[in-house]
């Protein structure tokens, strides 16, 4: 059977996210509880988490989390990293034996900063790290970088999400924002890299759905230097956000109008100025419209953003209690960890939930 990336595998899923908008950090216990409740929405073939604010002592370094299939590829990748990066710290990611988690790859973590000579003239370390991650994942067979942001990390593998959480000891990490994913792939070769969240730099995406615009989106982002090596929806959605927000510097709320664009009939109802802008966004970025059912939670340094496809073909519920915003595929997964939320609502199709850190809003 072909490894994920050589073949496209559709999946159904469960997603969950929690953020403390004051930036107060809390352990992974709640997010594990929340995603575990939706056990039946995944099938034990993939689970994972993204956590923001977990590495304050290394906040200026890119945290690379890497899966290795064997020692020789690890040596080759480290040789590559040595050449272009200052490695502040390196080591295995601590894990705990969990009976259901089998066929583990070697899982390493590096805190790195690219050398000045490596970054080159354009002086954009983010772009260099992004290109390095794409290069390792494409050219170093048997190695896979599954997390590459600053002061954040992704933890994922083949198994039920609650078992993956226990395996990575997520109750010992503290983050101000967590997202989680339980996967129900229709078939899988059981490759750890194929689990979600998918990340690029600080971006992490957990996603439920199967997008029907995949090849349109893929061929669009690949024109801008990305390589969709996994052939998953989550990967291409992550690249779309990275392209629009980081590379093209489109404001986030406008990027959302691209990814889940308003219908033409709604655009026509807007005032002249807004209409012109929405038309322009849609004309220029029509290939970045994500079509088909999806609910996603997008994580980044500033907070979480959740979004449904424009006709809401996937369930997604949000809730608020004090400084905390909750998002999940099912309301029960929120009520389990927050029995009396101040507000609970089901956002409409294409209408984002934007939960940013207060300091970012200021």
């Amino acid at each position: 059977m072909l490894k994920e990336g050589r073949v496209r595998i559709p999946s159904g899923c469960a997603i969950s996210g929690i953020i403390n908008k004051k930036g107060k950090r809390f352990s992974g216990a709640d997010i594990i509880k929340s995603i575990a409740l939706m056990h039946d929405r995944s099938n034990g073939l993939g689970g994972g988490f993204a956590a923001y604010g977990i590495y304050p002592q290394y906040k200026d370094f890119f945290a690379l989390h890497i899966f290795y299939d064997n020692l020789s590829i690890k040596m080759r990748v480290e040789e590559y990293l040595d050449r272009y990066f200052k490695i502040e710290s390196a080591g295995v990611i601590p894990t705990k034996d969990v009976p259901s988690i089998q066929n583990k790859p070697m899982i390493w973590r590096y805190f790195v900063k690219p050398f000045v000579f490596a970054i080159g003239e354009n002086n954009d370390e983010n772009e260099f790290v992004a290109q390095s991650v794409i290069k390792i994942n494409k050219d170093f067979d048997g190695a896979y970088v599954f997390s590459s942001g600053k002061n954040m990390g992704t933890f994922k593998g083949v198994g039920y999400p609650e078992d993956i959480g226990e395996f990575f000891k997520l109750d010992t990490y503290e983050a101000y924002a967590w997202t989680a994913h339980g996967r129900f792939p229709t078939n899988t070769p059981g490759w750890w890299g194929g689990a979600h969240p998918f990340t690029m730099l600080d971006w992490s995406v957990v996603h439920n759905g199967e997008i029907s615009s995949y090849d349109t989106n893929r061929r669009f982002v690949e024109m801008f230097g990305y390589k969709c090596s996994l052939q998953t929806d989550t990967e291409v959605i992550t690249y779309l956000f990275d392209l629009l927000v980081r590379k093209h510097k489109i404001p986030l709320e406008k990027s959302i109008k691209i990814i889940a664009s308003p219908f033409w009939k709604d655009i026509d109802r807007e005032s002249k100025e807004i209409k012109e802008e929405l038309k322009t966004l849609r004309a220029v970025y029509s290939s970045a419209l994500v079509n088909g059912p999806f609910s996603i939670i997008l994580g980044f340094q500033k907070g979480l953003i959740a979004l449904n496809d424009r006709i809401k073909l996937r369930s997604m519920v949000a809730a608020e209690k004090d400084d905390i915003t909750y998002i999940a595929s099912e309301e029960s997964a929120i009520r389990l960890i927050c029995p009396n939320p101040g507000k609970v609502w089901a956002p409409r199709g294409g209408e984002p939930i934007i939960a940013l850190l207060d300091e970012e809003i200021k």
Binding site: R8, P10, S11, G12, T186, G209, E210, I211, S212, S213, Y214, D215, T216, N217, R219, F220, E222, M223, F224, K247, H248, K249, I250, P251, K254, S261, F263, W264, K265, E277, K279, T280, L281, R282, A283, V284, Y285, S286, S287, L289, V290, N291, G292, P293, R310, I311, L313
Partner: protein
């Protein structure tokens, strides 16, 4: 010359029991096949002139007529076929180039029919277009690589002018001259009602039709017939025609017989004079010249009109398209070798050029590899026969398609391949007043509206089945296609997998 080696192609079969000698057939046939024999009180037929246009069959009130292939068999020979032999009879008699009309009829592969479409099952839902919005609007024109926003969150980029099409289908270029005024009027009115565009072809634009300007693409070809500043500003976009799928590399020829008063005024040439378009544009001998022409047109129209460049699908089309994109065109039109024509040398029509499917796939891929696909629009032409062809073209990478043969068929064309005679019994490819008036634009424009509306329903149905609710998400979405019975190389060029993969 006394000896004519030609035998009839068609046999006219008249059921004498049904025939009432009403003479409708003889009045309807501009080829003078039918005639009334007063002495015997019967209708007779001179079959050698029959082109099988079905006009008499359709008009016969008692349905007494049948047209069949003439039952005359040459001795079986896979090499010396009937047409190969007959062409020699004609050329040895006339000493001329063989003329042909409509698209390449040879049995080359039709790749549309070797591609199958996808639909959603279980893992994502199909969408019902009767209950949910289903968008088929497209914006044709140049797009910037990216948009710029100012510090205050205001959009700074102003994009080039676009042609907005409610349905990604346009009527392809057919000049006033090659087709009749009534056919033109039908196309113009249908395009206006549908929110799409029709194309003037290289015959200029009749003053009476300026009112359909928002739905008109004005063409400029090597003959520059009917081109002036007002004309260039009259439409929604300008199209520079470099080549045509039916006759790549050669020009055009409208016989003087078709140049009546009105055509003469529109084309700005004397009545009765042949209108000959040269093979090349004599101000474009290379790509940098094309750039100059594109920008002189933009200057003339104050940068308010997108400029399309149309080429025939030839072997090196991908590289040429890349050059056209870089020369500043807003849209590239690719016309495949099955595209129709009013008249073309048969040898050219049947042997020059390549299928639109392969050209489109390789151009789209090439522009993507160069990172410039998003900057220009791609329009595919050259025998799009139905809505499934439209969907497949867009999935391969087209923004929109052009149709012309399908449009004239909707107007009554029966594909008799005889446009070049100018005696079209259906009033389409003719300037003979009594034939032209057979085509009533009040009725015929509605047939075009019906056709495109029907196709649009089908496109929406297919999109919904794929789980897509905007045509934007179909463009270049080659995962929605699978090849059937294609070899590795063909699949590679089309950029698709084989069915079952």
């Amino acid at each position: 010359m006394s000896l004519d080696l030609l035998t009839p192609s068609f046999e006219v079969i008249r059921d004498e029991n049904k025939c009432i000698q009403c003479k409708v057939c003889s009045r309807q046939c501009a080829n003078l096949v039918h005639r009334y024999d007063e002495e015997d009180n019967i209708m007779k037929a001179d079959e050698i002139h029959c082109v099988n246009c079905h006009r008499c069959v359709a008009m016969c009130p008692t349905k007494a007529l049948k047209i069949r292939k003439y039952p005359l068999e040459f001795r079986e020979n896979a090499n010396w076929t009937e047409s190969a032999i007959k062409e020699i009879y004609i050329q040895s008699q006339t000493g001329g180039v063989l003329l042909a009309s409509m698209g390449n009829p040879q049995p080359f592969p039709i790749y549309w029919d070797k591609m199958l479409l996808n639909a959603s099952q279980v893992t994502n839902p199909s969408i019902d277009p009767l209950r949910e919005p289903m968008e088929t609007k497209v914006m044709i024109g140049r797009k910037p690589q990216k948009l710029e926003y100012g510090k205050n969150g205001k959009l700074l980029t102003k994009i080039a002018p676009q042609v907005e099409l409610e349905i990604p289908i346009m009527f392809s270029a057919m000049s006033y001259g090659s087709i009749s005024r009534n056919a033109h009027e039908s196309l113009a009115r249908a395009a206006s009602e549908l929110g799409i565009c029709y194309n003037t072809g290289e015959g200029g634009l009749n003053k009476d039709f300026y009112k359909y300007g928002n739905n008109t693409i004005v063409q400029l070809a090597s003959g520059r017939f009917g081109v002036h500043k007002e004309y260039l500003n009259a439409g929604a976009a300008i199209e520079i025609k470099i080549g045509q799928g039916a006759k790549p590399g050669i020009g055009g020829h409208l016989p003087g017989a078709k140049v009546d008063e009105d055509v003469s005024a529109t084309r700005m040439i004397p009545v009765g004079s042949d209108a000959i378009s040269p093979a090349p544009h004599h101000d474009i001998y290379s790509i940098e010249d094309l750039r100059q022409l594109i920008f002189s047109l933009k200057e003339t129209t104050a940068y308010k009109k997108p400029v399309f460049v149309k080429i025939a699908a030839v072997h090196n089309a991908a590289a040429i398209a890349s050059g056209i994109a870089r020369a500043g065109a807003d849209a590239i039109v690719i016309d495949g070798f099955r595209g129709g024509t009013g008249a073309a040398p048969a040898r050219i029509r049947d042997n020059v050029g390549i299928p639109i499917e392969l050209a489109l796939a390789s151009i789209d891929q090439r522009l993507r590899e160069e990172g410039i696909r998003n900057e220009v629009s791609l329009i595919a032409a050259g025998s799009i026969r139905n809505s499934a062809d439209v969907v497949k073209a867009i999935a391969l990478g087209a923004d929109a398609v052009y149709i012309a043969s399908a449009a004239v068929i909707a107007l009554g064309c029966h594909m008799c391949h005889s446009c070049s005679t100018g005696k079209c019994n259906w009033g389409i490819a003719t300037q003979i007043p009594e034939l032209v008036k057979r085509l009533n634009p009040d009725i015929m424009y509605k047939r075009l509206v019906n056709l495109i509306t029907a196709w649009n329903h089908e496109i929406q149905e297919i999109l919904g089945g794929m789980g897509i609710n905007a045509i934007d998400s179909l463009r270049g979405n080659r995962l929605m296609l699978r090849g059937i019975g294609l070899n590795e190389k063909e699949l590679e060029i089309l950029g698709i997998k084989h069915a079952g993969e």
